[in-house]
């Protein structure tokens, strides 16, 4: 849910990185935190287990600048990818303005990706949201690994809505910002409609 404050002249939007466990959602956020000028972002908060797996969420706020006199801030969240943390995933989706699905391109993770998208659709229903009506982009991560599925197969399986999609190697920062830029565009354009 975007919050537009006409007194402080601020727009705040919530973006959620969704996807199967170990797919690279947290890595995306860490890269953003690392590369964005500290004056344009807040601190990275990670609620993780001792093994560095996301327990609840990661969070970093990013200031994109000023448009029409409004300071525009995006609150970026990840969800825990592991199957048994579904209750937490559902909670993080509350008030979401845009979703980035981070798919793991490896062949052995195809089923996990499909299951995670199904789970996303289910969890959005909780808030009366439909994937087709929510700003949504897909990032195919880990494109540098040897055992990856071809793009056309991934698109066929995971992108029947034909939303914008990006190849990425999040650990190298490749594709991280093009994905974020696209979802930012979709969210702001939806607000302007």
């Amino acid at each position: 849910m975007s919050v537009i404050n006409y007194a402080s002249r601020e727009i705040n939007c919530k973006i959620v990185y969704y996807g199967p466990g170990l797919g690279g959602k947290t890595t995306n956020l860490k890269k953003i935190y690392e590369k964005v000028n500290p004056s344009h972002r807040g601190e990275l908060i990670s609620l993780a287990t001792d093994m560095d797996r996301t327990l609840f969420f990661d969070f970093v706020p990013v200031d994109l600048g000023t448009i029409r006199g409004f300071k525009t801030r995006f609150h970026l969240y990840t969800v825990p990818g592991q199957v048994y943390y579904n209750a937490s995933r559902k909670l993080i989706l509350r008030g979401v303005d845009g979703v980035i699905f981070v798919a793991d391109s490896q062949i052995e993770r195809l089923e996990d990706n499909i299951e995670s998208i199904r789970n996303l659709i289910e969890n959005l229903k909780e808030y009366n949201l439909k994937l087709g009506e929510t700003p949504f982009v897909i990032q195919y991560n880990k494109r540098d690994l040897p055992n990856i599925a071809p793009m056309n197969q991934l698109e066929k399986l995971l992108n029947p809505l034909k939303v914008p999609s990006f190849e990425a190697v999040a650990s190298e920062g490749i594709g991280v910002f093009s994905t974020l830029k696209e979802i930012s565009k979709l969210v702001l354009k939806k607000l302007s409609q």
Partner: protein
């Protein structure tokens, strides 16, 4: 109440600010923050320069969301309030109209009962304003933020041009 976004107009903002500010001074709280349930701060007052308000707001919303889910597991609708006790500072959280959260950081010598009573009183005042705001949103179907596509494209180009 159901809506996709919330617009805080100037006149509403100052009413919300005055109510929370009066509350903060009444109980001599360190900080009072009004947050929407998705974790975005709406109004803050007190020693805000010493606290990362954005991080605080996201964690309070998550805290409340997790606890509400816990309530569901034991057959409760929700917990209307939460209290965290520290050595020097406490946090008290009060839900408002199921959509907003009033979070108070107060010194441990302040009696909890006083905070609770004043928070409840403040909640009533804030509820009236939030009902008015959400009614306005439901009635007003115009664009939240009318902007040309090209303006958005240029704005994003500026931010992302050096980020690859």
């Amino acid at each position: 109440m159901s809506y996709e976004h919330i617009d805080i107009l100037e006149e509403d903002f100052w009413v919300l600010k005055n109510i929370t500010s009066t509350f903060q001074k009444t109980i001599d709280a360190r900080v009072v923050v009004l947050i929407d349930r998705s974790g975005q701060p709406i109004v803050s007052c007190g020693e805000t320069e010493n606290i990362d308000i954005l991080a605080f707001s996201s964690l309070v919303a998550a805290d409340y969301a997790a606890t509400s889910h816990l309530a569901g597991l034991i057959g409760e609708n929700a917990f209307a309030t939460l209290h965290h006790q520290g050595m020097e500072n406490n946090i008290f959280i009060q839900i408002i109209e199921d959509k907003f959260i009033l979070a108070i950081i107060f010194k441990s010598h302040t009696p909890l009962g006083r905070v609770k009573v004043e928070a409840l009183r403040t909640k009533e005042n804030l509820s009236e304003i939030f009902i008015k705001i959400t009614k306005k949103i439901e009635e007003d179907k115009t664009a939240a933020f009318p902007t040309e596509d090209v303006e958005i494209d240029n704005f994003l180009e500026d931010f992302f041009e050096d980020l690859h």
